[in-house]
């Protein structure tokens, strides 16, 4: 695959990853966010944060399973999109939902565990986003890997943040716990050795 092709695919993935955001803007513009638009925006950006976290965490196991090394070249971008949606989610909370009422926000964060958990998730993603440029990887050396391992914690904190505010229907949050668990399992050396590789299916694609 030529560099030009990769750039083309990357652009496509970039635009695709922006679609949930674009759709949200489009619906907002057309007044189609329902009776409680702020809630719709909060829920949409929250759920896409979790979805991008799933997609990003799926890259490494998928690369191994399929033998497609090219996949890794999308990982940082997808990770940054996770952070992008998390930022929108956080911004929705402090701006649209609380309207920068800092005393109340601080009280809310301090008193309500699901908000603490959500905020911690955001801080982890923030620290990863800040350290994502190449020069930071070089500069941080071993520490970089340690810091970025926190993504596994972020995944479970994110799913906890979700399940903790549901009133009774926990099916959707449980799905994210299940997906994250599978993605973690695939990383355990003992499991990794036993998972069948699907590289044969992809032999025609040259990287």
């Amino acid at each position: 695959m030529t560099n030009k092709q990769i750039t083309l695919i990357k652009t496509g993935v970039f635009l695709l990853a922006l679609t949930p955001f674009s759709l949200l803007l489009f619906r907002g513009w057309n007044n189609e966010l329902g009776a409680n638009p702020i809630e719709t925006i909060t829920n949409t950006t929250g759920i896409w944060t979790l979805r991008f976290l799933v997609i990003t965490l799926a890259i490494t196991p998928l690369r191994r399973l399929t033998g497609q090394a090219i996949l890794i070249r999308f990982r940082r971008m997808l990770g940054l999109f996770t952070f992008f949606y998390a930022s929108l989610h956080f911004l929705t909370y402090v701006w649209l939902d609380q309207y920068f009422d800092w005393p109340f926000i601080i009280e809310d964060i301090a008193e309500h565990p699901y908000i603490i958990v959500g905020f911690s998730t955001f801080l982890i993603l923030l620290s990863m986003a800040v350290t994502s440029p190449r020069f930071m990887i070089r500069k941080m050396g071993k520490n970089w890997k340690n810091l970025h391992r926190l993504v596994y914690l972020a995944a479970f904190l994110g799913a906890t943040h979700f399940i903790w505010q549901v009133k009774s229907d926990i099916r959707e949050p449980l799905l994210y716990f299940a997906l994250f668990s599978v993605l973690m399992l695939l990383r355990i050396p003992a499991v990794r050795k036993k998972t069948p590789l699907l590289t044969g299916w992809f032999h025609s694609v040259k990287v």
């Binding site: 409680n36 702020i38 505010q165 009774s168 099916r171 449980l174």
Partner: protein, 328 residues
Amino acid sequence: MLIKRSANIEQLSDIRPSEITSKEVYQSRRRFLQGGAALALGSGLGITSMLATQKISHASSKFSNLIKSPYNTDETLTPYKDVTTYNNFYEFGTSKSSPASMAKNFKAEPWTIAVSGEVEKPLTLDMEDILKHYPMEERIYRLRCVEAWSMVVPWVGFPLASLIKDLKPTSKAKYISFRTLHDAKRMAGQKPTLFGSGLDWPYREGLRMDEAMNPLAILAVGLYGEVLPNQNGAPIRLIVPWKYGFKSIKSIVSIEFTENQPETTWAMLAPKEYGFYANVNPEVDHPRWSQSRERRLGEFRKRKTLMFNGYAEQVAGMYKDLDMKKFF
């Protein structure tokens, strides 16, 4: 407003299912009644001419001649579209938008309510008779959900106290308990699922007798002057505006008078989070989120939640001896 009624509610129990009027006849009769010849037919149940003019026409599903209530708020009404598309009605799915679509084909007619427990005579009420019997009022109330959003809804209904008086509960009746229809064939949200949506059907709610007799408590059969849409709890639901929305049980099929405090759905599911009283109280937070403020649908900034949802004047007296932190 008080209207002397000669109708004896016991008579209602004598109507057997086989005698229920077919929909076609019912509808044509409604139109006929609207035509002004109400008294002649209405006299079968002893309805006064005053009452007979308060008819609903099923052709247009509109109520007419609604009595204005002194309890009405003059706050901006939440648009009809929002009131009917943003619903918590788990019998029709757990998302806000699903009841509007899942309840589309629900048949709320014919409908009966079984009355049992501590009453002089257990009986079955027919929805048709309820509509004919009680003068309907417009009640514009604030509705505050436990999820910290609120709306203003022009309900159509009548005081729960009027019905209770007619049902003649015994002196042992200390509580009134309600149940929603439990029929997964008609309410798809009640179908069992692998993890479940967590509610123990049928949905049940209850009030202390003095709460039920409070003039603010109504049974609603409509909103915005129209017959209650299915997703809002057709054909008949409770409205207790000083309590969180989940107390206002929908699609009621049974009323039971009890001596002991009845079990209520959300308190059964999470007793630490939802109590029997569920009075709107900005000072007592839900364990997981704040109740001090709320978002009025259609407004950008949150507003302060009022004690008893702004109905303290009418209801605070009932709770003066109650520890509201303990009995939330």
